[in-house]
């Protein structure tokens, strides 16, 4: 058994989870520490029948305190009672790395929601004892921005999902950045030496051993919602043909307004609340497990402490990296301020 601590919880797992911090206490004092979360292999044939929530989908079977994921080709996962997480490989070709990719994201995320936690979809970094949460959907550029910030002396607290408690503290969670190959290249990383997130994906994983990480819960000072400039959206990756040059944001032309970070504050409480609701980690899990009321309550409590800003990064990784040198994310007022644009194009639903 392996022992870890993440999100303020002691976790035991039959599978090594190097994305989480080792539980040193458990390693030295064997036996007397009862884990709050147990992760173990099990058979989906043993799962009891449940009354499905209407928010279930063909891959997600959910009830109040029971969450099940059937991911064809990868495996079966079940989180229940806020304490147990079981997994099963689809077949022998599925590696430990394949399994834990989904265990430490969707699996632990579901457990945390069952435990009543406020889990937001975002990466949290720390500097000067203050935490900044970068909210954003997958592929919105959180990890690339986070990596650049780590080069400037920030520390990684939690990636992909971040838990904020009632005191406004963000807890150390999964501490891994996943970078696409184009990002890794643009950031001058020796990507050939980096482990793949999963076999067959041109996506690389940097874990706690490779990154400066923060070990303590830290008060959340600011939230930034990562957006894209309308222009970057116009580039419309969706319409890129396969044979085309891999047009990264790097290729964007050099109009100066695109070379700086811009930000604006969410002034309306309702907008800010919706922002947090939409960026809860998997809102469908909240609905299906009957935790949405608690999500709203916790999110509105959080808004009494912390402001939500929108942040538009320059188009292009190199430009973003350069622009970041002149920016202090702990001081949003020093960023180029904009009125909330009417036609703000966000990376949203």
């Amino acid at each position: 058994m392996h022992s870890y601590t993440a999100f303020g919880l002691r976790i035991s797992s039959d599978l090594p989870l190097p994305e989480l911090a080792q539980d040193l206490a458990a390693a030295t004092l064997t036996g007397d520490a009862v884990p709050e979360i147990s992760i173990a292999e099990g058979s989906h044939h043993d799962w009891p029948a449940i009354q499905l929530s209407p928010h279930s989908t063909p891959t997600l079977a959910m009830a109040a305190a029971d969450w099940r994921l059937e991911l064809e080709g990868v495996g079966w996962f079940r989180a229940w009672d806020g304490t147990r997480l079981s997994w099963e490989r689809w077949d022998d070709s599925v590696s430990n790395r394949d399994v834990r990719t989904f265990l430490v994201t969707s699996g632990i995320g579901a457990l945390l929601i069952q435990r009543g936690a406020l889990v937001l979809q975002g990466t949290t970094l720390v500097r000067e004892g203050k935490a900044v949460l970068l909210l954003g959907f997958p592929a919105s550029g959180k990890s690339t921005l986070a990596w650049c910030l780590l080069q400037q002396g920030w520390q990684l607290l939690s990636s992909e999902l971040s838990v904020v408690d009632a005191q406004g503290l963000v807890w150390p969670g999964v501490q891994q950045l996943k970078l696409w190959q184009d990002s890794a290249v643009a950031l001058d990383l020796d990507w050939q030496q980096l482990p793949l997130v999963r076999r067959g994906l041109k996506r690389y994983a940097l874990g706690p051993a490779d990154l400066p990480v923060a070990a303590d819960p830290t008060p959340l000072a600011l939230i930034y919602g990562l957006g894209r400039s309308k222009r970057a959206n116009h580039k419309s990756e969706k319409e890129k043909p396969k044979e085309g040059p891999i047009t990264t944001v790097e290729d964007a032309s050099s109009s100066s307004e695109q070379e700086l970070f811009r930000a604006w504050a969410r002034k309306s409480e309702r907008e800010a609340l919706l922002k947090l609701r939409n960026h809860a980690y998997q809102p469908r899990f909240y609905r299906a497990m009957e935790q949405e009321a608690s999500l709203f309550l916790q999110a509105s409590q959080l808004l009494k402490r912390v402001a939500v800003n929108e942040l538009i990064a320059p188009d292009g990784i190199t430009k973003m990296r350069t622009a970041l040198e002149a920016v202090d994310l702990l001081n949003p007022d020093a960023l180029i301020r904009e009125e909330e644009p009417l036609s703000a194009v966000e990376v949203e639903a």
Binding site: T105, P138, A139, W180, R198, N233, E237, P241, E243, S343
Partner: protein, 294 residues
């Protein structure tokens, strides 16, 4: 009737074949029928007919995982199942744009879009020569490259295997394979319409579209919606909003000429012959003339 009873529809097409025009028309027809606001159509705000079927965000919600952690080959067989329950929570968003072929080489013989709860598909096709010209403007590619693209059995729209993007890979294959994949599938009722008929026989074609989609199909309403969404009107509206949000970088305007026959004027004889030879059967089936001279 609740949103659940209404089901949902696909508007499928090879890119640059009139899909957006159809969506704009549907939005306008619904607006006119509802007699809600007298406001003019706003391209960037009002075209809310439904998410594109390849939206990553939508897939993440349905699958319950970060789809960036799955390869495109792993995703294709899952995508069809993913949408099975989506209509439950998509009231008002009932018309989904699709550029994928109905199945992909990775989808294990399954449709890449959900068919459960789907009431049908409108497949829009356009003369491949004109598609080439339009694609060339859209991608900022030379014509020859676009001809190759229409003839490429592995053609796809992708965000690149090396980066994420807001959408997942959309396999299209050769232009004729794309047409057949939708027109000849038997899992969904299909209405095939030609872009050329949308232009030359607008009233009749759009009335058929409205009827098929179970939309208000009074001829006067359809004609009014059609008049409000003419290419000239759309060009003007695009100017007003300062560029349509679906326009890619480098592409001057999304709504360009909308004309037919540009391919025959602008492509070389050799390019036209390559298309005619490679796509002969389907072109003939849908009454598209090509250059077949020796």
């Amino acid at each position: 009737m609740s949103g659940i009873d209404k089901g949902y529809w696909y508007l499928a097409s090879y890119p640059k074949s009139g899909n957006t025009w159809c969506r704009v028309f549907i939005t306008e027809l619904q607006r006119l029928a509802a007699e809600s606001e007298a406001q003019e159509l706003n391209l960037n705000r009002d075209i809310e007919t439904g998410a594109i079927a390849s939206s990553r965000h939508w897939l993440d919600d349905q699958l319950g995982v970060n789809s960036c952690d799955l390869s495109f080959a792993e995703l294709d067989p899952l995508r069809g199942r993913a949408g099975e329950s989506a209509w439950l929570f998509a009231e008002g968003e009932r018309f989904h744009k699709v550029h994928d072929a109905f199945k992909s080489p990775d989808s294990r013989g399954r449709a890449v879009v959900s068919t459960a709860g789907c009431r049908g598909v409108v497949y829009i096709l356009r003369h491949p020569e004109d598609v080439v010209v339009s694609l060339s403007h859209f991608f900022s590619w030379p014509m020859d490259r676009c001809v190759d693209y229409l003839l490429d059995p592995s053609a796809a729209l992708v965000p690149g295997e090396r980066q994420g993007g807001n959408q997942v890979r959309q396999h299209m294959g050769r232009w004729d394979q794309h047409v057949r994949s939708w027109a000849d599938q038997s899992e969904l009722p299909v209405l095939v319409i030609r872009y050329e008929d949308m232009l030359s026989k607008g009233a009749e074609t759009f009335l058929a579209l409205a009827t098929f989609l179970d939309l208000p199909a009074e001829p006067e309403l359809v004609e009014q919606a059609l008049a409000n969404t003419s290419i000239e009107k759309l060009k003007k509206l695009e100017e007003q909003v300062g560029g349509f949000a679906e326009k890619p970088e480098g592409c001057e305007r999304f709504f360009r000429s909308g004309r037919t026959g540009e391919g025959a004027e602008q492509l070389s004889i050799e390019q036209r012959k390559r298309l005619a030879k490679g796509l002969a059967e389907v072109m003939e089936r849908f009454h598209y003339e090509g250059n077949t001279s020796d």
